[in-house]
């Protein structure tokens, strides 16, 4: 059985994003951005985790990501800016500026560019070396979630719009799509092989789509229901807040407001397993680069009330994954 533990010194507010260090050597280093305005760096290789550093920012953070080497982080949030945080010195510089909150930041390894998506309906490419904006790409809607595989950037937006860009040609979307789900997009994550992407909605559903536009590939796309609970004669439909792919097995995990995390084999269209309920709605998920650990951030009020309270019940659980865990059984 795999083990799991709570990270000590977790941020006190909702944790918006958890990101493992991309490098193999430091794959146990976890970044966590939180609504309590902090960016925390943990070493999850020790039991209960160790808080290595914590950077206090000016506004609640909505996303964070690592740079190429895993020495710095990029953060975005309600400050409307993208900042680069030097995790050793704690210094942080503004590298990008938006007109509204930055919902998503990504780092593109090949080009060394930071991609930031914001509620101001733009996606920007930023070069942190020159502190310059390389490109600004207007979107029809607020950006809710982004992910990249290779050079393909998937931008999930409001209005159920999904634009797929080739990051080298940002002038025009490579593909314009509409979400396969009927409700608001919550998260998009790319299949590591680059063949497609999974997206989740607030309505207990996950869709798997493929980039290849040929009809026989498109015929493979599908959506399925998940994160629902039978309540009397009704199904309570929970939002699927987070997705994360397993880097090796190609399977993915989903986390919902029902406080559950499930492993899915999207090729076999099967659920591999479901983990025991976590103490709060799952807000973010991430599997480390070597597929040995799953980070689960939970907390916040269930999205029903949304009275914006700073609920104390927040935390990060690190679940170590066994070698076969999350592996397709087919």
């Amino acid at each position: 059985m795999s083990m799991q533990f709570q990270l000590q010194n977790a941020p006190v507010d909702i944790i918006s994003s958890v990101r493992f260090n991309p490098s193999e050597r430091y794959s146990s280093f976890l970044l966590a951005s939180s609504w309590d305005t902090t960016l925390s760096l943990y070493d999850t290789s020790v039991e209960n985790g160790r808080l290595l550093t914590r950077v206090d920012c000016v506004a609640p953070l909505l996303d964070c990501c690592w740079d190429e080497l895993g020495r710095s982080a990029f953060i975005g949030g309600l400050e409307n800016r993208v900042r680069m945080v030097d995790l050793e010195s704690g210094r942080c510089n503004v590298v990008g500026d938006h007109d509204d909150a930055v919902k998503s930041v990504l780092f593109h390894r090949q080009s060394g560019l930071v991609v930031s998506g914001s509620w101001d309906r733009t996606v920007q490419l930023l070069d942190c070396r020159t502190n310059g904006r390389v490109h600004i790409s207007r979107q029809p809607h607020k950006v809710f979630s982004m992910d990249m595989a290779g050079n393909l950037l998937v931008v999930g937006m409001a209005g159920r719009a999904v634009h797929i860009y080739d990051i080298r040609h940002m002038a025009e979307p490579f593909q314009r799509r509409e979400s396969s789900l009927k409700h608001m997009t919550r998260a998009v994550r790319c299949i590591p092989t680059g063949e497609g992407y999974a997206s989740s909605s607030i309505e207990g559903r996950i869709a798997v789509d493929f980039f290849d536009a040929s009809p026989d590939v498109q015929a493979k796309k599908y959506a399925f229901k998940c994160h629902r609970a039978a309540e009397d004669d009704m199904d309570a439909v929970y939002s699927v807040n987070a997705l994360a792919f397993h880097p090796l097995h190609g399977t993915f995990v989903s986390g919902g407001s029902d406080s559950l995390v499930c492993f899915w084999d999207f090729k076999a269209r099967k659920r591999l397993r479901q983990y025991p309920r976590y103490p709060g709605p799952v807000q973010a998920l991430e599997i480390d680069s070597i597929g040995s650990a799953l980070a689960i951030s939970y907390g916040g009020d269930v999205e029903i009330g949304l009275e914006g309270n700073t609920s104390g019940n927040n935390g990060i659980v690190i679940r170590s994954l066994g070698p076969g865990e999350g592996k397709s059984k087919v």
Binding site: A59, K142, T310
Partner: protein
Amino acid sequence: MGSEIVSFDMFEHQKENIQPLLEGHSAAALAKAFRLEAMNVSRDKQVPKRDEFEKRIEMAEDLDDPLEVWLEYLRWTHETYPQGASAESGLISLLERCATQFQNASHYANDPRYIRIWMEYIRYNDSPSEMFSFLMQRDIGLRLATFYEEYAHYLESIGRKHQADDVFRLGIENEARPLDRLRRRYSEFLQRLEANPPDPNEPRSPIMPVFRPALATLELASVERDANPQQQQSHQPIQPETSRPRAKMSIFIDPDGGASGPADRLGGWESIGTIAERRKENTIDARPWEGETMRMSQPPSSATRAKLTIFRDTGTEVPSQQPQFKIPALPQHSIQGQKVKREEKFVANMNAVYPEGDAEEMSFEELRAKARGLLRQKSPNNVQQSPTSVHRVVASLASSSTPGADRSAVVERTPLGSSRKAVLTSAHREQPPLQPLAVQTQPNLDSPINPRRRPASPTMTVHTRAATDEIYSMFNQPLKCDINEVETQGIPDSSDEDEDDNDDEEDDDDEDEEDDDNDGNGDSDDSDEHEHEDDNSDDDGCQLSQQGRVYEDDSQVERGRDYVIEQQQDINANNKSSNGVYRDHSNDLDGSSTASQNVPATPHQDRAPLVAIERYGIAMMTPIVEATESIATITRSTKSKHNKILDNFDENVESSPFVEHPAPRRDDNTTTDIKQLSPISNDVCFMDRTNLTAIWTRKPIITDLLVNPMDESIRNTILENVVPSLQSYRGYFHNTQLRLGRSEALKRNVKNRKNNTSSEDVDIELQGSVYRLRRELGEGAFAPVYLFEIMDSDESFLEDGKSRLRAIKMEHPPSAWEFYTMQEIERRLSADADISIPKDLRMRALDSVIHVRELHMFGDASCLILDYNDQGTILDLVNLVKADSIKSSSAPVLGLDECVAMFFTIELLRTIEALHETGILHGDLKPDNCMVRILPGNESLSMARLSLSDTASKRQSSRTILSPYKASGEQGWLTKGISLIDFGRAIDLTVYDHKRDVQFIADWNTSAQDCAEMRELRPWTYQVDYHGLASIIHMMLFGKYIEITTDSQPGHGRRKHYRITQSFKRYWQQDIWRELFELLLNSVAESLAGIPDGHGESTTPVKTFPITKRLRNCRAKMEEFLETNGERSGMSLRTSLQKLENLVSAERRRAGI
């Protein structure tokens, strides 16, 4: 057929089940059929017969008249199955087979037997007109009158009388046999037609459909038909003119024109098909389900469709518009097939996610940000401003505040700031790469007045509408600060324009005319204070600090403020300790100078507004209630003996009230008169401002909506701003220039006593009374409680003259808070004005709170003198019972008897109810903060406190319990109860903005005994007491500390559901207890129980909060139970109480008290 005579009785009761036949039924056959049925003989018996027929039919080809076999078969079927067509009889399929078998046999085409088969078949068919047309087309039965009669009859029955007429005429024309009968029928028909003329609107299409190949010349056909209606009635199809060229439009013509020949000849109608064939749309082929996708259909209801686009799995069709929700409609999915789709319920707030109107959908993060007031802020102009500049700003701000600034500003506490306290204090906070920005919840107006307030550094400006409204409302108030500003402004202050809610109240306190210039209001500059003369500075410090809260424009400034405040507070403390806020002893107090005394002890009902007008030249928005009530009736003549202060306080600043020798060193000559130093006479202020309504409606001192109630600055602000001032409270003695010192001596002495190394007595003299230390009651790092005995005192001061023992709580550093809240409780509960709480309830609540006597504030400590209750706490009681049970029997009894627990619960509930009604939260309810009073002899407390004559007599009359439980307290039950202590964490709600639902945040380390909201860092209000109640009750019932668990399904509903881990004993009143704990632990959820969920974003719990009423109901239930069942067998409240009394007295004796 049948030889015997058949009685109709045999099938009389079945006659409805007999299908009428043209030729009639054989009675014998019917009898046989129904006899078989009555005998319940399975029709399977008929199978051999049927097989025989089938065999014969097979071979019928060779017969001369194959139809004969069919007819026999049919006749048999009719006899065997008089009910007619059914799945069993297979009649329809038989008819069908027969009819189709011979449809091409020309020799049968006009055979009446064959036609009759057709006619029967048509009767079972869905579309007879089609069948007739088919027969006409195929030349079947056209020579037989039967055909025309049936056809006409059918047409007439469906109201096509013209067509029926046509049919008859056609039949006559065709000379159908028997022609006479046909003619007769036709004439009958015409008679009916005359009597019942046809509807002129009835369709008149030809009886025989005109057959025409696809895309043939329509015009021609219709022209021909119109020109020659007779022809089209012919059964011969019109030959299409396929080759006619059209000039305008080239019509596609099948190149192989001849191919349509045979079809034309037959009218393209070779077979009518079977009924099953014609119904094929309605049947589904059986297929394996595997791999099938369930198609979801549109919901039939158009009402929901208009609002909500329904998801379809195909994913190809996409609604053109955003799905919009007006109501959180449940998508009515349905799966084709037998399984009914379950209804779905969105757990998310769909109203919020899809706002009404054209607004774009909102993600959860946006909603969260919106709820926190962080959404859609403008990015500051100065983008590249590095965070270090924030530091500089802070530094400059801090330095700009001069040391003389006496103002203590209370910074807005924000949810973020508060809840992040732990983070902020952690080590890396020291050198934060980014300055934390405490985000304000209700700040921030881009002031139209003062552009200076614009932030100089990158900040986040938060605009919530509520905040903006509030600030505008503040600006709408008269700007009384103007004069001061002009006069005193030294350097620009970022907070100059800020208005303060407390200004109004402050006016009441500002009695000092001479200090008009300097009289700060909240907006005057920090730096101006040091310019004042010394003797005023104390006063200013005092008053200015009342200004308290300053609205900050941006958080940088605020943060700067934070530092400033810390400095200022230090300064304040220094000033106070060195000068003594209340030490105007140097003044020669004569009649004229009393006016300038800061002591709010001047009779001046109408002065405060007057002063205000004088001062500002404008009418002030002074709360009238406050202005008139506070000082209105104060007379300075009253002098009470205990209001004395030692003269040598002036001379010897470092002197201490400790008495070095047991003998009191009290000299009446050295006491100064009350007129000079006593803050206020007790009786007077005691009578004032007792109107609870006024208390609830007065302006809040703290307007933050999220407050840490333990915060020193908050408390100080409250204490400095209360009206009437703290100094006016009876028993308040302020000697901050004096040091109590000797706390070490006390500790040492206590220690020595414990070790039985008796040392000399330690005496302390407070206000003329000498108290001698007896022992330590409660330990504590900051507030140990000692038991003192009054050694020498004016006997009249000991009001009841009963107990000479006092509990004295020494607090380091000094704090007046507990005194304030306890005094307020007494004041409000004993208030005589119109308040919602019945007087009886108030008095009993008053009895249930420990009586506070005096507070002595010293420079280093404060002494809170309380009545001493020697009966122990609930915790002691539980322990006593446990120990006793161990002694007497082997099995330890955990908890008190249920009836006793219920009795104390009632007392607790009543007390807390009264406290809450008066706006006080205890804040720290736990078993060791709840003393019991069950011993006789302590009953007259409230009599001494309140001279409420009507009930006093009732009380006096009964000092011992005379009867079974009386909820009203009669018969001596008043004397039993509880006594709450330790109001150190009490909260006076009325000084907060309770109208706007102030909530509190705890910053201390929480334990399992703290309420769930605290532990989860959520804001709370009354919950703290509810949880405290639950913990005490739990302790009484189970003898254990409360343990709370949440239901395992967090997603179950909106909120977590808390419950205790213990389960109630079987014989307890489980319903009552369960309901009580349910209420106490889930107070918010319970209060929302009646309110539909998801009602917009602002589901503020406080609207139906507190749940006082429901607790009252709960209490009523318990009282009723105790009154009716309190003395039943198996439990006797009186016996149980008596047992406890004995235990307590025994314990007291043991302790040697």
